[in-house]
């Protein structure tokens, strides 16, 4: 048994404790030590994640590098980790984004204008970076957990550091009103997700009880799924549907799926750009990831039963999110609604239950993470310069800060899934995968790409073009640190748009396995091409 996966989880966790314990103080040197420590820890995590992904053999078993330690024997709970293709790419995404977020948030946690000697001035920096690392550790455990309970625990526990990140470290601008909005957003985030988690808790318990009654008292995902597949564990359809809904509700809140999305614009709007990236690019992905791994794996029949309804919701989400993004006046809320639209695509891809849809959805998680991070972080740089989130306060930025405008445009183009950039590949796969089974939904969803162009370009047009507005005049272009933040994201967006094969190779076997769990095969083409030019790959 290798300890690689445990190390990948433990390093950021230990790093979080270490960072939190670093000497307090508001001097520049102290703060820099803190930041560099945290950055080093996240880099180490990235290295570990990369090693894990490299050691993963796409052709091999579904879960690899598995580790298992008894945790709570009474309930059959183990600390079991294992990585499959889907988990691998998402862990990589997390590990890549965290250092970038840290670098982007370099000064976000510098002492706020707070009274001398208060917490803000002494421990703010340590707190911020420790919380980020804590989130990273918990997210990674969630992606690697092969024990339902273990997953649940970290799925829920990550709310707490996220909550403090949202509520404690907002935009610097704004007075008491901003603070009020921020704590409202944090509470809303926590309550929504907590409610989701509690409903899931009921379902987790229900699953365990049913399994226990049939002599399968375990939370081990693989044992459960194989028992379900072999018919050793039979859940009656009503119960299965109820359990499915319990799980799905939690994931749909976190993902978020329309109409459970309303916490996201608040949370993303009020938090720092870095935190917003963590929310939308990393934490929310746990929700969609879990739909793919847990909902489909544990409740195949219920998944199929509810798939049409979920697809309808996700299509509504696609259009609704995009339309709301069009109507926003606030840059970050606009991006948040855009994300809601994108999550609609991801969920649609998952529940279309085709190889293309699910591979696409998995890629979408990664690509959306990268591209939205780029868009959002540049937006954050912009906002930090002007101190306003209102679109109307900007105009003509392109003239004074061309690099900023250029990267912002690339982020926007990635968001609207421009072919050649990574999100296109995944979005098209999702659309094709959905269309081949549900043509009408596929067509409606396709119109989401028009709306995506609308909100992305309108945002660019209003903020970056036109005559230079007063508050924008003299705005500095991106600094070296900021370019270092955006450059890797842009590079990844382009690279994965042109050559996503490394990811698809990882993801495909896991998707096949998931589809076989739900007993679904892709719809066959009506008139298959006798000799396909590309050659089938099985």
């Amino acid at each position: 048994m290798s300890y690689l996966l445990t190390a990948t989880c433990v390093v950021p966790a230990a790093g979080a404790i270490l960072t939190a314990a670093l000497p307090a103080g508001s001097t520049e040197a102290r703060r820099r030590t803190t930041k560099l420590t945290a950055l080093a820890v996240s880099a180490a995590t990235l290295a570990l994640a990369a090693v894990a992904a490299a050691r993963f053999e796409p052709g091999g078993a579904r879960y690899q590098l598995t580790e298992s330690y008894s945790w709570i024997r009474s309930f059959g709970i183990n600390f079991s980790l294992g990585v499959d293709g889907i988990g691998a790419v998402l862990v990589l995404l997390t590990a890549v984004l965290v250092p970038i977020v840290m670098l982007a948030s370099w000064h976000d946690a510098d002492p706020a204008p707070a009274p001398e000697g208060t917490f803000e001035n002494r421990r703010r920096t340590q707190g911020f970076f420790a919380l980020i690392l804590a989130v990273e550790a918990m997210v990674i455990v969630s992606f690697l957990a092969t024990d339902v309970f273990l997953f649940y625990v970290f799925f829920e526990a990550m709310l707490i550091p996220m909550y403090f990140l949202i509520g404690g470290f907002g935009d610097k601008a704004g007075g008491p009103e901003a603070a009020r909005q921020r704590s409202y957003a944090a509470v809303k985030f926590l309550l929504y997700n907590l409610l989701g988690g509690l409903v899931m808790l009921a379902a987790v318990i229900g699953l365990y009880v049913i399994a226990q009654q049939q002599g399968q008292a375990t939370f081990d995902l693989q044992s459960l799924t194989s028992a379900i597949a072999d018919g050793k564990l039979v859940i009656d359809p009503t119960a299965e549907r109820a359990l499915f809904l319990g799980f799905f509700f939690a994931f749909a809140v976190k993902a978020p799926l329309w109409p459970l999305h309303t916490w996201l614009p608040n949370a993303m709007g009020e938090s720092t750009a870095g935190t917003a990236v963590l929310i939308t690019a990393v934490v929310d992905k746990v929700g969609t990831f879990a739909m793919l791994r847990f909902c489909l794996g544990l409740f195949p029949d219920a998944s199929k039963f509810f798939a049409p309804a979920i697809l309808v919701l996700s299509v509504i989400g696609i259009i609704y999110g995009a339309l709301l993004a069009v109507g926003q006046k606030d840059i970050k809320r606009l991006i948040a609604y855009a994300s809601i639209s994108h999550f609609g695509f991801i969920i649609m891809g998952i529940f279309a239950m085709t190889s293309q849809g699910q591979s696409g959805a998995t890629l979408y998680m990664v690509n959306h993470g990268i591209s939205t991070a780029a868009w959002l972080l540049v937006a954050g740089f912009l906002i930090s310069r002007r101190g306003s989130r209102l679109i109307a306060d900007y105009g003509g930025v392109q003239k004074v800060a061309p690099v900023l405008a250029g990267t912002f445009l690339i982020g926007g183009l990635a968001t609207l899934s421009l072919p050649g950039l990574a999100p296109f590949v995944s979005e098209f796969l999702v659309l094709v995968g959905t269309f081949s089974r549900y043509p009408v939904l596929g067509i409606i969803a396709t119109f989401g790409i028009v709306l995506a162009a609308l909100y992305a370009l309108v945002l660019y047009q209003r903020t970056m073009t036109g005559p230079v507005k007063d508050g924008v005049r003299g705005m500095a272009d991106l600094k070296v640190r900021e370019i270092a933040v955006v450059a890797p994201l842009v590079a990844l967006t382009v690279f994965l748009g042109v050559y996503p094969k490394p990811l698809t190779d990882l993801v495909n076997p896991a998707v096949n396995d998931t589809l076989s769990q739900v007993h679904r095969t892709d719809p066959a083409p009506a008139h298959p091409v006798a000799e396909p030019a590309g050659g089938e790959q099985k």
Binding site: Y320, S355, F435, D505, A533
Partner: protein, 631 residues
């Protein structure tokens, strides 16, 4: 040799990357770097062309697979190129005209501080356009398709500080996106029908598919073509796109990108040939746009917008021809190429005029420029003759063939189409003559601008005139060259197929009719604009004129049908989201709070009421316990 094919795309792509990422260091020579990249690509194209010429007909198409792009179970998308007669034709047009326009831009953009970026965008456009025509499958074509859209967006909005330019760019992208939906759906349909979306695979299996499936695919492809080629109903962006620098209008919005729709339909002929209903739709779109663009072109005072209307109309010809099926494919492409020459020449001429007139675009402020800009006048004039189809010049050969083909469609349909194309030819002659007269003839009408600055019309520098001269050559001779011995027909026939159709009129009759229409158009224009001085402020004009000035109310229509309801919907949803969904949740929280504060009153602090609640509770407990037993 085939390894040159990827380089066709790679050269301008590398140029774009270098220019866009390179930083200020490249400012001094970046424009030459960009031009070099374009020229290099052109050279590669020529080499490939001649090597293709050297092969027998069935050996000409070549196929290069670069790498597996998106491998997912059952879904294989490769980055692979297919170079055949059709694509090499486009390659040469794109890189040839492209190189010329790069050269022209060196002069035209000489004073723009962001010239390096401009060349970067131009190179990006070339790369995307080449990808579009070289792709061997629809998904890769889609990449190029949107890539040119992006380049077009960037270039239309190149002068971003002008709100009008930024708006126009956004509009162009959005309207194109609607078309892209069509392309997406078409690819999805192909995937579900055939499990494949390579040209080879789809065309090979098309015969087995039902007519309705093919019609659906065809219609979706048509939608895509409408977006990119500014055909009705997605035509509205092209006029606004003239906000971009003139070389852009010449390259993208006249010679190459906007013809991508024609390419798409011709390329997909295997589908359209089996879907007559889709073809009918194509023809209708072409015919309507042909007239629509021509009418708009008649009313515009902005020289570029007049030319844009003309472009729309000419592409309408091509689309119409492509919709005719094997009768018309070759001529659609032929007209496309000749149009590429003369329309690019015309736009460059217009740019040259603007260059000399301090960016004045209103033709009513021109007049008598032939004396000031002789080269521009001559090259523009040759382009003018070519486009109206003056016998012997390029446009004559290609347009004549299309009109013939329209008649050759046969039946009532053939007559209607033939007449439409003839009327179109007359209107073309009218509005182009109008442009010619307003710009180069008559009295000078230019005025000082607000700051009292008088324009001093002058001939453009040689980097600008040289491309215009080259294109003028093309405008004059290309058509004859193609028509000679039906060389173009023979060249493309293996790819597109060809049939003569059964024209009720002889070829000569058609030529005579066309010439007559041409004469009528020119004469009419002369009567209206040539004989009396042109008013500087436009007369009110008839209802039709006023409507035509406003692009036949297309924007008003879009606004009323799409934009206004759309923004109302968005606003309503924003309200609903905060008051409805969010309000529900907040209301729930408030309700719990309300219940809580009501319930709290029970806790009134009096021992006796606590005791009462306990006593009551006991009674209930006892009662229910007893009740449970009796039930």
């Amino acid at each position: 040799m085939n390894s040159l094919i990827p380089l066709l795309v790679a050269a301008p792509l590398a140029g774009a990357a270098l220019l866009l990422l390179g930083g200020r260091a490249l400012d001094r020579f970046g424009h030459w770097l960009g031009t070099l990249a374009a020229a290099l690509s052109f050279v590669f194209g020529l080499v490939l062309f001649f090597s293709m010429l050297g092969r027998s007909t069935d050996q000409r198409p070549v196929h290069v697979q670069l790498f597996s792009w998106v491998p997912v179970n059952g879904f294989q998308a490769d980055v692979a190129f297919q170079l055949d007669q059709l694509s090499i034709t486009f390659v040469l047009l794109i890189t040839g005209v492209g190189t010329l326009i790069h050269l022209y831009s060196v002069g035209y953009m000489a004073h723009d501080e962001r010239r390096r970026r401009f060349f970067g965008y131009l190179n990006l456009f070339l790369a995307a356009m080449l990808l579009l025509v070289l792709a061997d499958n629809y998904l890769l074509l889609y990449v190029g398709w949107e890539g040119v859209g992006l380049a077009s967006y960037l270039l239309i909005g190149f002068w971003q500080h002008k709100p009008s330019a930024a708006t126009a760019a956004k509009k162009a992208f959005l309207v194109n996106r609607v078309g892209d939906v069509g392309l997406s759906i078409a690819i999805m349909l192909m995937f579900t029908d055939f499990g494949n979306f390579t040209y080879l695979g789809v065309f090979g299996a098309a015969g087995q598919a039902s007519r309705s499936q093919l019609t659906a695919i065809g219609l979706m492809l048509l939608l895509a073509a409408c977006g990119k080629s500014a055909q009705v109903p997605l035509q509205s962006w092209l006029g606004d796109a003239m906000e971009g620098p003139t070389p852009v209008s010449a390259l993208i919005h006249a010679a190459t990108m906007v013809t991508a729709g024609v390419y798409l339909i011709t390329r997909s002929h295997a589908i359209f040939d089996l879907a007559p209903d889709a073809q009918t739709a194509v023809v209708c779109v072409g015919a309507v746009t042909l007239l629509f663009g021509a009418i708009v072109g008649c009313a515009k005072d902005d020289i570029k917008k007049a030319l844009a209307g003309s472009t729309m109309s000419q592409i309408g010809y091509m689309i119409l021809a492509a919709g005719l099926g094997p009768i018309g494919y070759v001529f659609a492409i032929m007209h496309l190429v000749t149009h590429g020459f003369f329309k690019a020449g015309l736009f460059l001429g217009a740019g040259s005029v603007m260059h000399g007139m301090d960016d004045e675009v209103n033709m009513r402020h021109y007049g008598g420029l032939r004396k000031y800009m002789p080269i521009t006048f001559v090259t523009f004039g040759l382009g003018y003759l070519a486009i109206i189809g003056f016998p012997g010049l390029s446009g004559f050969f290609s347009k004549d063939k299309i009109i013939e083909a329209a008649f050759a469609k046969g039946g009532t349909e053939g007559w209607i189409l033939g007449l439409v194309t003839l009327v179109g030819a007359a209107v073309t002659a009218f509005y182009m003559t109008r442009v010619m007269i307003l710009t180069f003839f008559g009295e000078k009408r230019w005025q000082a601008d607000d700051e009292g600055h008088q324009p001093h019309p002058h001939e453009s520098p040689s980097t600008m005139t040289l491309p215009m001269i080259v294109l003028a050559f093309g405008s004059v001779f290309a058509g004859g060259l193609f028509a000679f011995n039906s060389s173009f027909l023979k060249w493309l026939e293996p790819i597109t197929g060809h049939s003569e159709g059964n024209s009720p009129l002889s070829s000569l009759t058609v030529t005579l009719l066309t010439s007559a229409c041409l004469l009528v158009g020119v004469a009419l224009a002369y009567v209206v604009y040539g004989r009396s001085p042109v008013p500087v402020t436009p007369p009110v004009g008839s209802v039709l004129t006023r409507a035509a000035r406003r692009d036949l109310l297309q924007d008003e229509f879009n606004h009323a049908v799409l934009v206004r309801p759309g923004s109302a919907l968005a606003a309503a949803l924003v309200y609903l989201d905060s008051k409805g969904l969010d309000g529900f949740v907040n209301g729930l929280a408030a309700a719990i709070g309300g219940i809580s504060s009501r319930l709290r009153r029970v806790q009134n602090g009096y021992v006796r009421s606590y005791a009462l609640s306990m006593f009551g509770g006991t009674l209930v407990l006892v009662a229910t316990t007893l009740l449970m037993r009796s039930v």
